[in-house]
């Protein structure tokens, strides 16, 4: 997507709202989809499209967990470790991913392919433990399911 197309798309979304600033969250989502994270140029583009400052956009983006102000891997694996998942073995799932990927939660593989994160309650407590792979829920996931999930990511285009 070109910068112009991105700006046009953001401005079209802004028309849904009585006030333009309201479009900042959808705008940040779109920009992040384009870059994989929110580099300074993405914040500048969002700012330009909505007539805000890049600093304001960064202030908003830094408030929310889903906006990444640092690069992440091409794939994102998020393991819920809140109470309901914790009670039924989420820690063993985190450790299985750590072993399979050769990293600690919060890190990205050296080849830049996969980032592993522990996350707060994903809202799948009845199907725990919950793992969210590239924003799609896998429920439930047991340690023995982990190698196949990682293998799938390695093969993904």
């Amino acid at each position: 997507m070109s910068t112009e197309a991105l700006v046009d798309q953001i401005r079209a979304i802004a028309e849904q709202y009585p006030e333009r600033e309201s479009a900042i969250m959808p705008a940040l989502h779109i920009a992040q989809e384009r870059y994989g994270w929110l580099p300074p140029e993405a914040l500048c583009e969002v700012a330009d499209a909505l007539e805000l400052t890049p600093a304001y956009c960064k202030a908003v983006a830094s408030f929310y967990d889903m906006y990444h102000l640092r690069p992440t891997g091409r794939h994102l694996v998020e393991v819920c470790t809140n109470v309901a998942c914790a009670l039924v073995g989420a820690q063993q799932v985190v450790e299985a991913f750590e072993a399979e990927l050769g990293l600690r939660a919060g890190e990205t593989t050296e080849d830049g392919e996969v980032t592993l994160r522990a996350v707060e309650c994903a809202g799948g407590c009845g199907y725990a433990p919950v793992v969210v792979v590239d924003h799609r829920y896998r429920e439930p996931v047991r340690p023995e399911n982990v190698p196949a999930i990682v293998e799938g990511l390695r093969r993904a285009p």
Partner: protein, 438 residues
């Protein structure tokens, strides 16, 4: 006690995400009826039905609507809180994912009732699949000319528990950091874009079509007098059959956990029950016969909250659980109010010390004291939500906290079910704060 499905009705048998199927089971008939009624009459039915908010506070929806400022030069807005983030809750996700049209129909009826032309549904960012289901359903509704000139905007959040708090949600929707506002003024007077605003939870709004269909008086006959209707209970934790179950309010915890949920998994012993999401005070097995309705749970010393019932078996160390829950609230505190921002950090440090075997008698006293000083001292309820679990675990499982001091470490010896559980805050090193003095 069998299931009593009003909100999820029909979703087990049919694909109600499709407009055609929804109409075949009578969908949008309530909207048609409501549109033939005076707006004030619509709100009156909801008031007579005593529909209490299903998001957590249990505030009557009809009374909320009656507070909306009349004669404002600004438009009136309807905002649906679909930012479900309370640990343990996953009901709104199922409602949006399986009966999206019932929510949309509820929005259109409510908008008519409060004379609003503009609806915003703030959907939790992580719920991408449900957002897509809602978007497709809304597209169908628009295509079938059912919107009647009302605009419904689906707004995706981006991962912040605090945005489930209504004024933080409004800030977020206005394009700001999601920090709660000072009240008063309340949203019915000065809400979104400083305009009169009605805010309700997904399940509350999705119940509205049923009230119009049955009439408020008939609806009020379902369940207990002061908490009529149903709730979708999210059952999770150490239970045989976790999941969402829509039941009449007033069903007992025992019926939900044992008759419906199959009891404690693996034949273990029940240790604790969290009846309304991680923010509410814990209940003990002796309280199993408490009916699940707003007033009965309050009388038992807790809150029905978002009807998220978590079952905890005897393998769980309550200090570890308190620590994990406290790390959540520390992560989610928006930082605006000092008691909450600093207090959540103190709780984590003290509990960490206790679990690590360095805790003293003075630390237990300090925990009590920090809890007392946080309670009621912040603009929104998050500061209180951080306290309720810790203070109630300490009150009801005091021996276990004491044992951590007496034995200079965890009495579970590494065998607790939540041993070593990683929290997202453990992944960040840039949240360093001043340490609690030893």
């Amino acid at each position: 006690m069998p299931l009593r499905e009003l909100v999820l009705e029909g979703a087990g048998e049919r694909d109600l995400t499709k407009l055609g199927e929804y109409r075949e089971v009578g969908g949008y008939a309530a909207l048609e009826r409501a549109l033939g009624m005076d707006p004030g009459k619509v709100i009156e039915e909801i008031t007579v039905g005593t529909l209490r908010g299903r998001g957590g506070a249990g505030f009557p929806m009809g009374r909320k609507a009656s507070l909306i400022a009349k004669g404002s030069p600004n438009p009136t807005y309807l905002v649906v809180n679909a930012d479900e983030s309370e640990p343990g809750a996953f009901k709104d996700r199922q409602i949006m994912g399986t009966v999206p049209h019932r929510l949309i129909e509820g929005c259109l009826i409510t908008a008519h009732g409060i004379e609003s032309r503009s609806v915003f549904i703030y959907i939790r960012g992580e719920y991408l699949h449900e957002f897509e289901v809602m978007r497709a359903a809304l597209e169908e509704t628009r295509g079938a000319d059912l919107l009647g000139g009302i605009t419904i905007v689906l707004h995706r959040g981006a991962g912040a528990y605090i945005c489930g708090e209504e004024t933080a949600l409004l800030e977020s929707l206005e394009g700001k950091r999601g920090q709660p506002r000072t009240r008063p003024p309340y949203p019915p007077i000065t809400g979104l874009y400083a305009s009169p605003t009605q805010i309700n939870n997904v399940q509350t709004i999705a119940t509205v079509p049923k009230i119009i269909e049955l009439g408020g008086a008939e609806f009020a006959k379902i369940g207990p007098q002061n908490s009529p209707g149903t709730a979708v209970f999210s059952l999770s934790g150490n239970v045989v059959r976790p999941g969402n179950y829509e039941l009449e309010l007033g069903t007992s915890l025992r019926e939900l956990i044992y008759d419906i949920g199959g009891g404690v998994a693996g034949g273990r012993e029940l240790k604790a029950i969290i009846p309304g999401g991680s923010s509410v005070p814990v209940l003990t097995p002796e309280q199993l016969d408490t009916p699940l309705d707003f007033d009965s749970i309050a009388a038992a010393g807790s809150f029905l909250g978002s009807a998220a019932v978590m079952v905890i078996d005897d393998r769980c160390c309550m200090v570890q659980l308190a620590l994990r829950v406290s790390k959540f609230y520390m992560h989610e505190s928006c930082g605006k109010c000092t008691p909450c921002r600093e207090g959540t950090r103190w709780l984590v440090q003290l509990l960490d010390r206790l679990e690590g075997g360095q805790g003293t008698q003075a630390d237990l006293d300090l925990l009590d004291s920090v809890c007392a000083r946080m309670l009621g001292r912040s603009l929104c309820a998050l500061g209180d939500f951080a306290v309720y679990p810790v203070s109630s675990y300490m009150e009801k499982y005091r021996d276990e906290f004491q044992a951590h001091v007496d034995e200079a470490g965890c009495p579970f010896g590494g065998e607790s079910s939540v041993e070593g559980i990683l929290a997202p805050v453990d992944q960040h090193s840039h949240h360093k704060t001043v340490e609690v003095p030893a």
